[in-house]
Amino acid sequence: MTAPKDQAPGEDGTPPGDGTPQGRESSPEAADTTAASGGAPAAVAPGTNADGTAATATARTAKSTRGLTPPSWLSLTFLLPALLLLGFLVMYPIVFSVVRSFFGADGHSFAGVDNYTGIFKGHDNLVTVRNTAIWVVVAPTLVTVLGLIFAVLTERIRWSTAFKLVVFMPMAVSFLASGVIFRLVYEQDPNMGVANAAVVAVHDTFQPGAGYPGAGPRTGNDALGTQQGDGTIVSSRQYAPGQSALLPLLRIKPEDLPTKPVQAVQPPAAKPGELTGAVWFDFTKGGGGNPNQPNAGESGLPRIKVEAVRDGKVVGKATTRDDGTFTMKKVKGDGPVTLRLPKSNFTASYGGAQWLGNTLITPAIIGSYLWVWSGFAMVLIAAGLAAIPRDALEAARVDGATEWQVFRRVTIPLLAPVLTVVLVTMVINVLKVFDLVFIIGGGDPHASVLALQMWVESFGGGNDPGKGSAIAVLLFLLVVPAMLFNIRRMRRERA
């Protein structure tokens, strides 16, 4: 890519500060100015580390010495292997797919445009089309915005090279490995998936819950507590400081018990002024055991909040340990208190988001896509930033512009061509996204996109090459604008 020319600035509208006339180069001088002015990501392309780019332009202009050029039949031998492969495996298939898309599954019956209209029929197909639309709009935009933010911010730190390596690294990793990585991240169980572990940790900081929904005290004569309508449990008798309380609970769901249950024990002896107690699951597996006593095999209930209440006021608080015991060190005032287990103990614990559920699955997969591709955008945009002439920025600053104004009015317009290239590249790429959806979505129709649906129809059980071809041709048609964009860029460069 004879670097600077490829991305002539002012693709759409001339950016301010770029005084170069848009006449198409050819003199080394012009090439140099274009290189210096903004918006040429390719200014850092291969050309640079070989010979100066100016040399190219000179070489180009001197297209005269014809006598030395080899005969054109010789060029055919150089081109032949490439042309054969491209012809048989790329060009011919395009034609074949177009033809095939007008025939039914068997390949003989003419189907007209049925295969195409079929793409938009039926609930699952519409979900697929909708998802593809979401992908095409959201993913490229977010990748570009993140890339821009990272590129701008890295200009302000010293460890920018290290940062860029970290963010760029996923580009080298296969989508399959990325898929496995993010399946692990998005695991539903907060004890397995790091995403839900983080979400639950944040949630519980603001709204803690011990998570024993449905639990309650024993009812009947030997009940040691009563449950109120909202779930709160209050002890039947009162306790004075220096005493110990037993608060047995029943109806604990097995999945709410600690993964490694600790044997319930008698509460520790209370020192003067203290209140101690034990909360446990008063149920012995296989029967037996004394009710209201922590027997062997019964599990303590950790993380339960206990409050001491006198005259409707909370005068002491404690939380149970792994074995279910608690010690209330300070109980304000004198006299006996009632013990209360607030309702927050008995609401379901927050399990995090359903990342791979019907609603969030597409955003979740797009999240993993951002992880892979943001580095790409960042590197391109950073190269574009580096090519912006310092004078333009300084001039704006001298004129009293704030940093934000400089960014908004000078940097962004000068970067516009690079941002366009990133956006276009990402749109093309997103249309082809297959592996991530296939691996993370695991065949869930709520995650499907056209590129995946094409495979499903043709090879993954759909058994309808007609429909598969129609989807393939549709994908091809969707990238045609990008193809024309590229060709126009090339022609402008070579004109």
């Binding site: 990501p41 390719a42 392309a45 291969p46 050309g47 580390n49 070989a50 010979d51 070489a59 180009r60 010789l74 150089f78 292997p81 491209l86 790329v90 298939p93 911010l153 200009e155 302000r156 920018s160 090279t161 940062f163 390596l165 963010v167 996923p170 580009m171 080298a172 990793v173 296969s174 399959l176 490995a177 496995v180 990585i181 993010f182 399946r183 004890n191 998936g193 790091v194 992880w371 590197v379 391109l380 950073a382 580096a386 090519a387 310092r390 300084e394 001298v398 009293g400 940093e403 297959f434 592996d435 695991g442 590129a451 094409m454 495979w455 090879f459 994908l475 990238v479 990008a482 590229n486």
Partner: protein, 317 residues
């Protein structure tokens, strides 16, 4: 990442603080201490944000690594981050189990057998074509090159069905092209060519004309010029291309899924076949995915300079 490094170094001065440039004198009174403090704080905020981003970017891969180093029962009982409280959990048993599986080891070698030829062939075939496009004259040259540029963005999906059919019809004796490593390689080469030709032609075109003409004047044949002048001078671009193609083929799943059978399947396809039970198979998937990404990651870190160049030069694929 030399290219970007120089870039940020140049950009560092004005970006770092408002009082950087030499032409600052006139504007200084208007943006006084307050602006400077804002600049400092801004820098601090940038630092903080980027640290958070870097952590978010590293954690998923790190999680995979740790999960691959824990036993199945530990992975089933708790999240990988619990390893910090119990470092004793770490074990290589998942790796040794996996490497004891014959079909996984076979799939690893298949990946190598697919990737290396597909990379070499693209480099050779594309260099020849790029040389013709850059330095030889023939009718329709520019037109043909634009076709190649157009093919850059063609999605592989368009070719899957037709090529599968085409491959199915190629049988020589007991050799079936469909399902063979050769078939997978050829497909990768064909779809690597547009980008490769595009990248190399632009690079070759930048080689000074004088050099070529001197060689032609000396009576060197086109083959000699190609071998002695173009190929060596094209080194950096060829390196970028080779790395790109290597990563692209090594990481591919879709092409392998369609054209490879169980005998010729690469690692990606084998791992995919183990995905049906994700949590149950984590002791296979985590080390397998990690082994499959360690090679491209090593290539990336060893040759990141060329990789970045390739990204910058070919931002269209």
């Amino acid at each position: 990442m030399s290219t970007t490094e120089t870039g940020t170094a140049a950009a560092g001065a004005p970006g770092g603080g408002p009082s950087g440039g030499p032409g600052d004198g006139a504007g200084a009174p208007r943006r006084g201490i307050a602006a400077r403090i804002v600049g400092r704080v801004g820098g601090g905020v940038a630092q903080f944000l980027l640290i958070v981003v870097a952590v978010v970017w590293l954690v998923p891969t790190f999680g995979l690594l740790v999960a691959s180093l824990r036993s199945t029962s530990d992975n089933g009982a708790s999240g990988w981050w619990k390893v910090f409280s119990k470092p004793g959990q770490l074990t290589f048993s998942a790796y040794s189990d996996l490497l004891g599986k014959g079909d996984f080891v076979d799939s690893f070698w298949n990946t190598v057998l697919i990737t290396v030829p597909a990379t070499l062939l693209v480099v050779v075939i594309a260099s020849l074509a790029a040389y013709a496009f850059a330095w030889m004259e023939f009718p329709g040259r520019d037109w043909l090159f634009l076709v190649v540029v157009g093919l850059l963005v063609v999605p592989v999906q368009v070719a899957l069905l037709p090529v599968a059919k085409l491959y199915g019809s190629v049988r020589i004796g007991s050799f079936h092209l469909f399902g063979s490593i050769t078939g997978v390689v050829l497909f990768h080469v064909a779809f690597g060519l547009p980008f490769a030709i595009f990248l190399l032609r632009n690079f070759f075109a930048a080689i000074p004309r004088d050099l070529l003409e001197a060689a032609r004047m000396d009576g060197g044949s086109e083959w000699t010029i190609f071998r002695r002048v173009i190929f060596p001078l094209g080194g950096p671009a060829i390196a970028s291309l080779a790395i790109f193609q290597f990563l692209w083929v090594w990481n591919d799943l879709l092409v392998a899924l369609v054209f490879a059978d169980t005998g010729s399947q690469p690692m990606t396809k084998w791992l995919q076949s183990q995905m049906r039970q994700f949590t149950g198979n984590i002791d296979i998937l985590a080390p397998g995915a990690f082994l499959s990404l360690i090679v491209p990651l090593a290539v990336f870190f060893a040759f990141q300079r060329y990789f970045v160049q390739g990204v910058l030069a070919g931002s269209v694929k």
